[in-house]
Symmetry: C2
Subunit: 343 residues, 2 copies
């Protein structure tokens, strides 16, 4: 009945173009510290869970890069999804894996690509969540105390206290508009962060009972048949497929500088800033410039007399945009010719 | 009594950093067309003067690059100044060289690093200037009809008509403040462009009579002793050292889209612009961006949702500034660490 970490590291995406590529997505980029986000994540969990009890769920494209980045991680702890099917199948597979090795094990589920301002506070919240999960036999989600009315997240409205600080979940709320987000903030709702803690067997029981998209494939997971399992699942998120359908969900609040680092502009929040409010990394030289985000990877970037830009450069290509526009790079990347986009 | 071209190509400078370097100054950069400015200059003069009668005055650092760029130019027509001494010694040396080869030759003197919008108009103005110089035995300067009240140039106030369109010069006016520049524009003053036309022997006579900084060294020039000549001169410009002291100067107006391409921002005037007012060259991709100048040399540049910037990139380094700030890069370049500045 040990605690296990399950790190979801399968993400792809273009929000950190031109640095992020299919072969080097966000979680493998050193966006916040000098280490890639995935390495930061394991370092952060280290005092709570050793590498032997850490599972990293990734995909076939990235498995070798993950293994290289995390030499302390046993090879069998890297799970390469044969196809992307959402978080419910990924966590069900991980639960079956934990249950096989440790029938009463608890899973601390996190994503590989977050920034956390207060690592100790993060670990303390995971421990409180694990205590609630184990004592109440509940599926516990950590709701992050919001710092702004952000329409980019789902929200959780907490209900009655159960085992303080744990409360029931009155309602999961999909990404709201900006005005609704402001109201939810005032009313004490929490961000649905994607931090989940539960006993593997409890989660598997809820999947079996509530999630027909995954349940029929569970015998494959119990037998360790990876490909058959994922081919037997219909894609669905754990929120839609399990949590919103379950009566066993509790929420505890967390306040530890969580940031999902969703865009280049987010680096302005999570990185150390210089006296002029610039968040720069790499060989960057900023003169009479304010409020910029610069990421210079193997290429020198010089800014002179410019404000609130995002400049991201690597060998061969430089992107110049604004912090505001950086929130929506997909439209840009789709507009670029393939030979530039996929460079 | 042929006509010769004398092209001043010794300039150095940091105004096109990071593209311009001591080994590759502005005149060797393809800033306006796909060819370096110096090559543009010789192509433009071609219908007027063959390569055999074209002298290029440069410095020892650049002589090999100039020879490589201009294979049609006879090696003896490249003059490598042993030290920079201003335009009076450079043109005096060129005059002595022309006079040795062609005692009644006329020199059409231009700089290697200009943009010209109307090549035929430029050549026609040089021909008119040559006719005036030869018939009046005068030192003729082509005054460019100003298109804006620019405080960055010296001005010429024309005087009485002599041999139309040639007029006397009432006064040379140093770089004015902005208000004075506006007044000079209204009063019909012309930009002192640095386009000079005269017989070599007439210019040498004026140097001998008016320019003690250069005159004592002239015997070295007549004997072809390059180093001795330049070491014997005190540095001085042809404007201060000869023209402002001479009674034999005439001016003719010229209107042919002359631009001295003084800064990155000037490229916005002299380059073709896209429908959004961007002047871009190289592998540049601009999306929802307006009024920018982009120069991408061996590096891809992508702009998204930004306006009125200058982005200049080459292998290894990208500069991001504004069109306004690009007028004053010296302060920036001085602020950079040497390993960045001199990369």
């Amino acid at each position: 009945m040990s605690r296990w970490a399950v790190v979801l590291a399968g993400g792809v995406g273009s929000r950190f173009w031109p640095l992020s590529t299919p072969a080097r997505p966000k979680q493998l980029l050193p966006l916040v510290t000098a280490q890639p986000l995935l390495a930061d994540t394991l370092r952060r969990l280290g005092p709570l869970v050793p590498a032997e009890r850490t599972l990293v769920i990734t995909n076939a494209t990235l498995a070798a890069a993950v293994a290289k980045l995390l030499p302390a991680l046993p090879a069998k702890n890297i799970v390469a999804e044969p196809k992307s099917a959402g978080t419910a199948p990924a966590l069900a597979w991980a639960a079956a894996e934990v249950a096989r090795r440790d029938p009463a094990g608890t899973m601390l589920c996190v994503h590989a690509d977050w920034a956390i301002g207060d690592d100790a506070g993060f670990r303390a919240a995971l421990e409180r969540a694990a205590e609630a999960a184990e004592s109440q036999r509940a599926l516990v989600t950590v709701g992050v105390v919001p710092t702004r009315a952000d329409p980019g997240f789902g929200y959780i409205r907490p209900g009655a206290p159960v085992a303080p600080p744990a409360r029931t979940v009155e309602r999961f709320i999909e990404k709201p508009d900006r005005a609704t987000a402001a109201r939810l903030l005032e009313e004490g709702c929490l961000w649905n962060s994607g931090i989940f803690v539960w006993r593997a067997d409890d989660f598997l029981a809820e999947v079996r009972a509530r999630c027909p998209e995954v349940a029929p494939a569970l015998p494959h997971a119990e037998q360790g048949a990876l490909r058959a399992f994922f081919e037997g699942c219909r894609p669905i998120s754990v929120d839609h497929g399990v949590l919103e359908r379950s009566a066993k969900v509790l929420v505890i609040p967390g306040d530890f500088g969580w940031d999902d680092v969703g865009t280049w502009a987010a680096l302005h929040r999570v990185r150390a800033r210089d006296g002029s409010g610039n968040a720069a990394a790499g060989d960057a030289h900023l003169v009479e410039s304010h409020g910029n985000v610069v990421h210079a990877d193997g290429h020198t970037v010089v800014l002179y007399g410019v404000d609130d830009l995002v400049v991201a450069a690597r060998d061969g290509v430089t992107l110049v945009t604004t912090r505001e526009r950086a929130a929506d790079l997909k439209a840009l990347v789709d507009a670029l010719p393939p030979e530039v986009r996929d460079r």
